[in-house]
Assembly symmetry: C2
DNA sequence: GGGACGCTTCGACGGGGGCCGAAGGATCGC
DNA sequence: GCGATCCTTCGGCCCCCGTCGAAGCGTCCC
């Protein structure tokens, strides 16, 4: 065993890291980054392990505080515990090495391309679309990167036009930058990023593709982005 | 083994987390958060493991990109690879559960109290002193927490008075908040936090206690904080 | 009620990884 | 040169942990 000669009450780094140090549990967390609740079976199939194995992992993650669960009948729904946890996973993911995975199957490759185009990252938009929106907002002076990332007064007004009120100052920063792992450029996260993403769903700008994190830009979304941000992007037909 | 059904080239979360998922390696990283280079033997003694064990861990951490090393004669110096890595470790540490360690020895407890008063956290100031400075800067309008943490124009001027120039906008944010694990309140990090800490050492406001992360406020430092920030704190005699 | 489904518990298996001490190479100081 | 110091390699030990399938329990639906 280990002889931990650390300060009294110091943070137990390893206890938290162990939870993410297993490939299957990491897969779970990455999947849950879409911000939705998954059932145990869905996660098991996603990661390619037996249901009993998934149960064990979920017990660890829940008791470790990374996940919260909700029982509904015979289903066990789990989701990331809070935005802080999502940020933690995003941060680690952004610094982790890339997986050298052989392309598996055609549908997997397709889904992967869809993911690269547009997806949710916990509760905000990512992928090429997320990055494009973030850069368009920057070009229009809605975001300021001079000194960390901040929302300008123009940005606040722009959000208000959309009917998005700036959430009251909470522990969570209103705007935050999140490094995109396909684009390698930052996209908008934080409370505003989440609100914007929610609005995009509500207003029908984007729709989910299948049950995963990938989303498709609708015609309405394409028009809205052109009108609101002068952003020209191709809508995607939400097949596959 | 594991059947990872993830997207091609996705982040290998587990590969990074594994590095921090061992108590000894976590101890190393926490110790290296003081921003200085440690020798392999120092770290081994700090964590209470054999030198050969430390060698193995350091090999993993270095090849994993978390640490960089430098050989000088028979010494192997290691330090955290970059500020990004330090932020990663800070982030995990801030969310990790506290260690329920029985207080070991009197000197350890003393050092622990000294650590709680004032210490370095990677390259900036932490502990009660770090938090007090951060809050005094906020009170004086040098920092703004309204919308994330930002440096005000008054803050820029105040730094200039000290001879600290705002570093050019780089990937690293100028100001960042870092949750203090003893105070449970945020202190100033980021490039400005680092510059301020460096200035505090250079100007003789603070000195190291022993070889660890703890620092002591000098008489000169006490006067400077009173003059510059109207902050009343007790200097500490750097014994122990 | 009966069957399908989702989840959990249990036992068994296998492998990986952390630990140490001994021995040896490299470097420094005298 | 000679001992002391720092580090590394190697072998051996042992425990932990991830995996599965079988069996069982609860829930849902027909």
């Amino acid at each position: 065993m280990n002889n931990h000669d650390t300060h009294v009450g110091g943070p137990d780094l390893a206890a938290l890291a162990v939870l993410l140090a297993d490939g299957t549990r990491a897969d779970f967390c990455l999947a849950l980054l879409d911000g939705r609740a998954w059932t145990a079976t869905e996660l098991a199939r996603h990661a390619g392990v037996a249901a009993s194995t998934a149960t064990g992992h979920l017990n660890l993650l829940v008791s470790g505080g990374l996940l919260t669960q909700e029982r509904q009948g015979r289903h066990r729904y789990v989701r990331l515990a809070d935005p802080d946890t999502a940020e933690l996973i995003e941060k680690i993911a952004s610094m982790a090495p890339r997986r050298a995975d052989p392309p598996r199957s055609l549908p997997a490759a397709n889904r992967s391309r869809a993911l690269a185009r547009a997806r949710t990252c916990y509760d905000h938009l990512a992928g090429a679309l997320g990055v494009a929106i973030t850069e368009a907002m920057t070009d229009r002076g809605l975001l300021d990167w001079e000194q960390g990332l901040t929302l300008t007064s123009d940005g606040t007004a722009w959000l208000a036009e959309l009917g998005i009120a700036l959430p009251p100052a909470a522990r969570r920063p209103p705007v935050r930058s999140c490094l995109d792992w396909t684009e390698r450029r930052p996209h908008l996260a934080g409370a505003v990023g989440a609100a914007l993403c929610r609005h995009a769903f509500d207003a029908g700008w984007i729709t989910r593709i299948g049950t995963n994190r990938a989303v498709a830009l609708t015609d309405a979304g394409e028009r809205a982005l052109k009108d609101r941000l002068g952003l020209a992007v191709q809508p995607q037909t939400p097949v596959s």
